[in-house]
């Protein structure tokens, strides 16, 4: 057990690292844990071909200057014990850690909407493909399409391009009118505008099809071509890799297990006050876990919540105004990239919804009633290793309201698959 921290932060992305910097500046003892081997989160994921992003370098060097701040990369939070004590797992063993306050900055994951052929080898999440490329997976010369919705498609395309991929096109399901609406007000957020301009400059040669989506993927052993449509005409586009993603859903599992209040809907976020405080005393949240709004918002929220968590009111108050403004950007984003009806209903009866348990849509349609628990018990949807993180959100999108998702109302450990010896506790079982 490692004990004696003033603040334990889960997640070393923009929100978590900013929170750590605020709390360290206030002279507190801080621990940051993250299951990735290096800090940075999704957006600043380590890329050996380029220099680390400037804000990340600054953050890490600031944190290094505080002796009392410790990073635990390669450690995944799998459960809580009373206290709450955090139960962490690494490649080699388990660790328990405790602090006065806890700040969750666990980010978000991609939302997938199933379509025929979406389980073919060669199809990845848009962010997943970006991470693979950064990790050194060879994409040079390969024909890639990105499809779905939201700014992540552009960010992923830019990375892939830099790694030598041939981007055949980007398909954005949002119609041109929504995108124009988005652009029209974007200048209100100068940082976000600059980021968008930088991306567009790198992508100016890449076709960007608005109001378009993939209806089917085909191939023998792996992806060979996709069928795309703008809602009127279909056409076939050959490609080897497809990165898809229909936006992001907050990673609320840890917060939910601790009983934090959530927002309504099938992809809830953690409800926080203006200083990142959740409904549970001593528990803070910042970044995408509180709602999707990009890295700029996440950094501000993190800085603010980190200061608030260790009681540094001056620092926190100073950030309040900017944080509110960044908050509005999240709403702006959601409004203009909302999902249209057609992309929700692309799956056919034989299309697999749950990859872990290989459950096709037809099996789900067989179950009478709208009880999500019966559905799960009888089809096993969501019962595999990913614990429903992908399929249950996809399922919710295909269903008409109201659909009561029981997996939200009865959270249970472990948060991720965890070794029996980890859960058996420190005194029991052969721990390395």
């Amino acid at each position: 057990m490692v004990d004696g921290f003033d603040l334990v932060i889960v997640g070393a992305g923009p929100a978590g690292l900013e929170a750590a910097r605020s709390a360290s500046r206030a002279g507190r003892k801080v621990a940051v844990i993250d299951d990735n081997p290096r800090p940075g989160g999704q957006i600043w994921r380590h890329d050996p071909t380029g220099r680390a992003a400037r804000p990340l370098r600054r953050l890490l060097s600031d944190l290094q200057s505080h002796e009392a701040t410790r990073l635990f990369p390669g450690h995944r939070l799998v459960a809580f014990e009373s206290g709450p004590t955090l139960v962490l797992e690494s490649a080699t063993g388990a660790q328990r850690i405790r602090g006065e306050c806890l700040l969750l900055a666990t980010g978000a994951r991609e939302l997938f909407l199933p379509f025929p052929g979406w389980t073919l080898p060669g199809i990845y999440g848009a962010g997943g493909l970006q991470a693979l490329a950064k990790g050194g997976w060879p994409v040079a010369g390969r024909r890639v399409v990105l499809a779905g919705s939201g700014p992540l498609l552009l960010a992923s395309a830019a990375t892939l391009l830099r790694h030598g991929a041939r981007i055949e096109g980007i398909l954005e399901q949002a119609p041109t009118t929504d995108l124009l609406g988005f652009l029209a007000l974007l200048p209100r957020w100068p940082l976000q505008t600059l980021a968008a301009l930088a991306l567009l400059r790198r992508l100016f040669r890449v076709p960007y099809w608005r109001g378009s989506w993939v209806t089917e993927a085909r191939g023998r052993e792996g992806l060979q071509e996709i069928v795309i449509t703008d809602g009127r005409r279909e056409s076939v586009l050959p490609c080897e890799l497809l990165g898809t993603g229909y936006g992001l859903v907050p990673n609320i599992e840890a917060a939910n297990l601790l009983g934090c209040e959530l927002t309504a809907g099938p992809h809830p976020a953690v409800r926080v006050g203006s200083r990142g405080e959740t409904s549970r005393p001593g528990l803070y949240a910042a970044g995408e876990i509180t709602g999707i709004g990009g890295a700029g918002r996440a950094r501000l929220q993190g800085a603010l919540a980190g200061a608030a968590a260790v009681g540094d009111r001056r620092q926190a108050d100073r950030l309040l105004g900017r944080s509110r403004h960044a908050e509005a950007y999240g709403r702006h984003l959601a409004r203009h990239f909302r999902l249209g009806e057609p992309v929700r209903h692309l799956a056919r009866p034989e299309t697999i919804l749950c990859r872990c348990e290989e459950v096709p849509l037809a099996r789900i349609a067989e179950i009478p009633g709208d009880d999500s628990r019966s559905l799960r018990l009888l089809t096993r949807i969501g019962m595999g290793p990913c614990q429903g993180r992908i399929c249950l959100h996809a399922l919710a999108e295909t269903r008409p309201e109201p659909f009561l998702p029981d997996w939200l109302t009865r959270p249970r450990p472990p948060l991720f698959p965890a070794r029996l010896e980890t859960l058996a506790g420190p005194e029991r079982g052969p721990l390395p």
Binding site: A79, F80, E81, S82, V87, G369, D371, R373, S374, L377, L378, M383, G384, P385, Q387, R410, R412, P413, P414, P417, A418, R419, L420, E421, L423, A424, G425, R428, G429, P430
Partner: protein, 365 residues
């Protein structure tokens, strides 16, 4: 509206009763407050086991009935005949298993005793310091949520009916009242699992909470359901926490792991402390499982009676009301013999089992 028989509650017990009743020619209507099979039946391990002790006769008869049902409906409920391997930690426990074998033999249930070497041959993954074991080759496993639905489907195919999402709120003397004041008349069976006391407060019933863990698939799962001999001690420990190693190989290669018992708790929270104690026990017997990952955990409430036997029979002091409650940790197994006893009772037929030990009258003040 009148039916011959109204069964309140569609867990494994209610569904089995509906099937037996409909087969016997009784027009049956099930009333289920939520959805079929989402009560304790969904939480259970689905181990079909002949249990030496108070429930020996009921469980042995049930296994015969399960096998009959499975012959008629092959593939039902993902059934596998895994057998049960009871494992003794020391000589005392092994001697107890030998005595258990005598009682099983007297009840017509075959079993085979194993010494330490024989045990290791059955399951090489077991710890090497164990004394031996007892193998019951006739035991098996099912997937309970499916079992409920498939038994229910058989009953519906024979003409039974079901109302889902409708809670019975009171007994009227000639039937039940449902939410929204709908009245149904006929003989009534209460098969509401742990909610028994809501309609029949005179029958003492306490919840006994249990935890379960399911793992990822393993390349070399055990062949049998493996249970430590000490398991039966926990059955009779009235208070506090008791844990025992109980490991079931699922058809997918995953392991379903139990078990824990805590009396008087009625929440559904997973407790890390109980998990730790339970898994510590499992690693004591199967030390090689430490690095296998748990995917999910959950809890369920076993409905327990003071003497460990279920209530099966007419409820004294009430007209036309029957109880099928209190199946504790063995209701998946004992549902078919429960249904047989109950329907025989309603029809006034002589039953294969003696109904007296299960008569609810025994626990009325």
């Amino acid at each position: 509206m009148t039916r011959d028989l109204i069964v309140v509650g569609c867990g494994i017990v209610g569904a089995s009763i509906a099937l037996a009743a409909q087969r016997a020619g009784l027009r049956t209507e099930l009333v289920e407050a939520a959805f079929p099979g989402t009560g304790v039946s969904a939480a259970g391990m689905g181990h079909l086991v002949v249990l030496d002790g108070a429930e020996l006769a009921l469980s042995a008869r049930s296994l015969e009935l399960w096998r009959e049902l499975l012959e008629r409906e092959p593939g039902l409920s993902e059934y596998r005949r895994t057998g049960t391997l009871w494992v003794a930690e020391n000589g005392t426990e092994l001697a107890a298993l030998a005595r258990s074998q005598d009682r099983l033999r007297a009840a017509g249930v075959p079993s085979e005793l194993r010494d330490a070497a024989g045990l290791a041959r059955e399951e090489p993954a077991l710890a090497s310091d164990l004394a031996g074991g007892l193998l019951l080759a006739g035991d098996g496993i099912v997937y309970p949520p499916k079992a409920v639905h498939q038994i229910l489907s058989c009953a519906l195919a024979l003409g039974a009916r079901i109302r889902t999402g409708q809670r019975a709120t009171a007994l009227t003397g000639d039937g039940v009242v449902l939410e929204g004041n709908l009245r149904l008349s006929g003989e009534v069976v209460i098969a509401t699992g742990p909610s028994g006391p809501e309609l029949l407060p005179e029958l003492p019933l306490v919840p006994r909470k249990g935890h379960l863990v399911i793992t990822e698939a393993t390349a070399s799962p055990p062949r049998h359901q493996i249970v430590e001999a000490g398991y039966t001690r926990g059955l009779h420990a009235p208070d506090g926490l008791s844990v025992a190693m109980n490991v079931q190989p699922r058809p997918t290669g995953q392991l379903l792991i139990g078990s824990s018992r805590e009396s008087g708790l009625s929440d559904s929270e997973v407790s890390p402390e109980v998990l730790a104690a339970m898994l510590g026990r499992v690693l004591r017997f199967l030390p090689g499982l430490g690095r296998l990952s748990a995917l999910r955990t959950w809890t369920g409430l076993r409905p327990a009676t003071p003497d460990g036997l279920p209530y099966i029979g007419r409820v004294p002091g009430r007209r036309g009301v029957w109880a099928a409650l209190g199946h504790e940790g063995l209701g998946i197994t004992t549902a078919p013999a429960t249904a047989e006893l109950l329907v025989d009772g309603i029809l006034g037929r002589k039953s294969i089992l003696d109904p007296a030990p299960y008569d609810p009258a025994r626990c009325l003040g």
